[in-house]
């Protein structure tokens, strides 16, 4: 039996690998799903804020290591997003699938907002492009990711039990 912690760490590693490999292969109109954030969402929603914060920090830091010039930017965004999702974890409150989808969508917005704000602040850029960026890039990415997760959710909750019967 694999310990739960190892299972979640394995999931995050798989998400990173999937993002790096097939993430770009399923791009639609320049938008690809963010499997890393989806993985963090799954960890956070099941294990609470503590695991989400640490998982988000390590995930973000790992992503930052690919481009050292933005070191800390992903780590901060993922940490705070993980903390946000962790608030709604299953140990505290039971949420239905639609609620989870809304939380995931919100997580995307929060993540990208933090990421973009820190980036703009660091570069001393203009914040005027932020809403457009969120609308044009973040929202399609979030919808696409939720759709992909939805397929897995449908398979897991509806089709698999029927197949077992």
């Amino acid at each position: 039996m694999i310990p739960t912690t190892l299972k979640w760490i394995g999931l995050l590693v798989v998400c990173l690998l999937v993002q790096g490999t097939i993430g770009h292969a399923i791009t639609i109109a320049g938008t690809c799903p963010d499997f890393v954030l989806v993985g963090l969402f799954m960890v956070a929603i099941r294990n609470g804020p503590m695991a989400a914060i640490l998982g988000g920090f390590v995930l973000g830091l790992t992503q930052d290591l690919y481009a050292p010039s933005i070191l800390g930017q992903n780590a901060l965004a993922q940490t705070l997003t993980g903390a946000f999702i962790g608030i709604f974890n299953d140990k505290v409150m039971r949420t239905d699938a639609w609620m989870k989808a809304v939380i995931l969508l919100s997580a995307f917005v929060i993540h990208d907002t933090i990421y973009l704000v820190t980036g703009i602040a660091k570069e001393h850029g203009s914040y005027s492009a932020l809403p457009v960026e969120l609308l044009v890039r973040t929202l399609p990415k979030a919808v696409y990711s939720v759709a992909v997760v939805g397929v897995f959710f449908l398979w897991d909750s509806l089709l698999k039990p029927n197949l077992r019967k």
């Binding site: 070191l71 800390g72 930017q73 901060l76 903390a83």
Partner: protein, 277 residues
Amino acid sequence: MTWIFQLIVRHRAISSLLLTVVLSLTMLNANAQRQARISRGLLISVFYPLGFTLSLSTNVRNIFAENKRLRAESAALMVRVAMLEQRAAENERLREILKISESFSYDLLPARVIMREPATPFRSVVIAAGRSKGVGLWMPVVDRRGVVGKVIQVLPGISLVQLLKDPAAHMSVMVARTRTPAILESGSGETFSFRCRSHTDVAPGDTITTSGLGGIFPSGLMVGFVRKVSDDPDPLFKRVVLDLSVDFEHMEEVFVMRLSPQWSAFRAEVDSIKFDK
């Protein structure tokens, strides 16, 4: 001090959040050089062991694949080496043959031995050269070491060669040093000797060559060396035992000397004689 620790444990989620946010902001605010140093340090300390382990497992997998590939290559190379060794040996033999071919002034036709008489000791061999290549009856056959025998049957593509070791093959030889002629005999096909006068000067180690008197073999071809000289039952003679220079057991290529027998000119005359009925 204890209460700080207790506070951190009690609010570990918030403490973790604060710690990670502070760390993230610190890294974010660091200059490019420092960021590069931090990321390098992280890569080396945290991710390098992971990468090393992964690369190790990949290497192990590669080693198995490489081992498999090398085994196949090794087998192929072994076959190739065996082939090359065979070619090298053949090359060596042919070089020696060429040497002897250059040293002889006779018309030599190279031929491969393709069959031996199925008896022990074998007394004849079949060579892959026949009438179509100009081989004729009674032509002498030699190899790089000396006289092998003579052609006793000719077909279009192959010829039968009677070897010196055939007890029926009597050849005129001579002691090269003293030019003393004699007739070579073989009792069993394994020992070779000739008789000569008891006063003849012959000693172990003397070279025996063809004398040229039989009409088939030209004189001076190497036959063998005297091994020992012993007494003959007849006190007027002594028996000279010799070792043939040709190794019949490992004979692969021979030369047919395209010479007509010296008596072939007379043969036409003999054939033309008409006997009265």
